[in-house]
């Protein structure tokens, strides 16, 4: 009688060890990431680095949903952009300090995530993508008309203010360390979520939803929590970005932004820990490089999508992880 129980315990123990091994094997890559991030502003212009970090956080948040729950949201620009508007508004009109302005953005994004997620998880797969896209487009039209967004002009001249009322953020170099801290906070939070028991259930839902349900997990419940988390973290990225660049605009809520974040995750590697960061670096570099050629950026982005789907579905980090035979 004790045999099955014993086997079950052993099984779960083995599972836990594997998860711990995975976390342990990440130590070196994480160290490399931190070293690169700390060293970079001494070599590269901090403004472009801050852009990369904001997008990388956004991409990591998106990967939490697409890579680990298997939900393709085509409307994540909604959370990114809405948080950007609210943070900018809070900093400029309400005069809130940096950290509270960003927090306002995060709370807004989480609330919107709850509403959109609650509606969208009623449909699965491809319909989920279309529903989120449509709701984001609705929000875009709302932003186009709402008085506080400034329409086509956006909210310009957002003050960076002082961190905790003490440290002035006017210098790009100082600002960089704050953005880096926010990015790492978000990154480790996502890392923790993915490797928690909650994260294991998310993966189970991704792999086989009916089976997860039959095991007693309320799949919709888990999906909704993951959706809200992803939206809030996207908001963290969006809010930070609008204050760093002192601008919140319609571009951030446009479907093009949703497309860009999808491309970053796809290019870097779906469901990998470091993929979204690498994807964000590549996409931001490509954009800055091709910006001088005008409209060709869109063509390049589209081409990258086609190539990734046809020949490169694992992405850069996914391929690397296969070659090195270790999770990355």
């Amino acid at each position: 009688m004790t045999a099955p129980v014993e086997a079950e315990t052993r099984g779960s123990l083995r599972g836990r060890t594997r998860s711990r091994d995975e976390v342990r094997s990440m130590r070196i890559p994480i160290l490399i990431l931190i070293v690169v991030c700390v060293g970079a502003p001494f070599v590269i212009y901090p403004v472009i680095l801050m852009k990369v970090l904001c997008w990388a956080l956004f991409a990591c948040a998106f990967n939490l949903l697409l890579g680990y729950v298997g939900l393709l949201s085509f409307g994540h620009a909604l959370f990114f952009g809405a948080a950007g508007y609210l943070a900018a508004h809070a900093a400029k009109v309400w005069g809130l300090p940096f950290e509270l302005a960003v927090l306002t953005g995060v709370v807004t994004a989480a609330a919107l995530g709850l509403a959109v997620g609650w509606l969208a998880i009623r449909r699965q797969g491809i319909y989920f993508a279309m529903v989120t896209l449509a709701l984001a487009q609705m929000f875009y039209f709302f932003c186009l008309r709402a008085p506080f967004t400034g329409g086509e002009d956006g909210i310009q001249g957002v003050p960076r203010g002082k961190l905790l009322g003490l440290v002035s953020l006017q210098s790009n170099f100082t600002m960089y360390w704050v953005v880096l801290a926010i990015f790492l906070l978000g990154f480790f939070f996502i890392f923790r979520v993915i490797h928690s028991p909650f994260g294991q259930v998310l993966k189970a839902v991704r792999e086989n939803e009916p089976r997860a349900v039959s095991l007693g997990y309320g799949a919709d419940h888990y999906k909704l929590i993951a959706f809200v988390l992803s939206a809030a973290l996207s908001g963290l990225a969006g809010g930070t970005k609008s204050i760093v660049f002192e601008l919140a605009s319609l571009t951030d809520v446009h479907w093009g932004t949703s497309g860009e974040v999808i491309l970053m995750v796809l290019l870097g590697g779906l469901g990998t820990v470091f993929g979204p960061i690498v994807g964000a670096v590549v996409v931001v570099c490509v954009e800055s490089f091709f910006a001088q050629f005008g409209g060709w950026v869109t063509v390049i982005q589209g081409g990258l999508f086609v190539v990734c789907v046809l020949a490169f579905r694992r992405g850069i980090i996914g391929e690397l992880s296969r070659v090195l035979r270790r999770p990355l």
């Binding site: 797969g125 279309m130 497309g259 869109t298 589209g302 789907v309 046809l310």
Partner: protein, 295 residues
């Protein structure tokens, strides 16, 4: 002057007509999406870009070869449909059997490429396209003024939608198509060339989009981004109607166009968003869509 709920009847009917026109385009596009999804299990994100390509081809034919509206009405869907068949043969074919998400991403990429290339060569502002002289002018129906061209667009859309429905539901080729939607392997075992059927289906869906594009050219300007926002509205239409039924997509397309037109009269601020609001409501009440089978 007669009024309905405080709105002059003239204004009401002319907005209803505008709504019907938009509804025609929604119907043609969502019909194409539904046919393609049925057989390929792909949501064709490039549908808006191919609609634009239809209009652009008509404009190019006129500009460079002096070929007018009437031949373009046939030629442009043919050319764009052929282009679609090439896309299917070279790309979509390779991702068959994968998660449909990849199909969406691939066609999204294609849409970016097509729209980006078009924007580089034609600019963002777009070009006007002359209305065919036979259809200029209009008739006074007493209660409203009916521009001939707009009446023509609605008429053609209804006829084409009806024809497509007839071909799929009532003919032998249509029965092959429906059977392949259910079980492609078994149909192939009966000696029907399913891969060719799939290519033809994608070409047909794309040709419908191009036809809508040619008809839209004289009404809106021919511009590289004319399909970019439209496709999102059509996605909402498809979510509302559900892609399971041909008749359902046609009806939902026309109905939502009319509702949008009515919103323009009574509450213009919401005319851009009304379709999305209806989508949200339908998701609350009937998540599978009005004509959808189980999700």
């Amino acid at each position: 002057m007669t009024t309905v709920f405080g709105v002059p009847i003239q204004a009401l009917f002319s907005q209803l007509l505008v709504g019907l026109i938009n509804g025609s385009f929604y119907a043609l596009l969502s019909l194409g999406l539904a046919i393609i999804f049925g057989l390929l299990n792909i949501v064709n994100f490039a549908h808006g870009a191919l609609y634009m390509l239809g209009a652009l081809t008509a404009w190019l034919l006129l500009e460079h070869f002096g070929i007018g509206y009437w031949p373009a009405l046939i030629l442009s869907p043919l050319v764009v449909g052929l282009f679609g068949a090439v896309i299917e043969r070279t790309m979509l074919k390779r991702i068959r059997g994968l998660d449909p998400i990849y199909g969406l991403l691939l066609t999204f990429g294609l849409a970016l490429v097509i729209q980006g290339v078009a924007r580089n060569y034609f600019g963002v502002s777009g070009e006007p396209y002359e209305m065919p002289p036979q259809l200029s002018g209009g008739k006074n129906l007493g209660f409203m003024f009916l521009p001939n061209y707009r009446g023509w667009v609605v008429l053609v859309s209804v006829v084409i939608c009806g024809l497509t429905w007839f071909v799929i539901e009532r003919t032998r080729v249509g029965s092959y198509l429906r059977a392949s939607t259910e079980n492609p392997l078994l149909v192939q075992a009966f000696g029907i060339n399913v891969p060719r059927l799939i290519t033809l289906t994608y070409g047909l869906g794309v040709a419908l989009a191009a036809l809508a594009g040619v008809m839209a050219a004289p009404i809106y300007r021919v511009s590289p981004l004319m399909g970019a926002d439209l496709i999102i509205v059509v996605f909402a239409v498809v979510v509302i109607g559900g892609m399971g039924s041909i008749f359902g997509s046609i009806l939902t397309g026309f109905a939502l166009g009319v509702i949008e037109g009515l919103t323009k009269v009574y509450y213009p601020e919401a005319s851009n968003t009304v379709v999305f609001v209806i989508m949200a409501l339908v998701l609350l009440v009937k998540p599978a869509g009005l004509f959808g089978r189980t999700a």
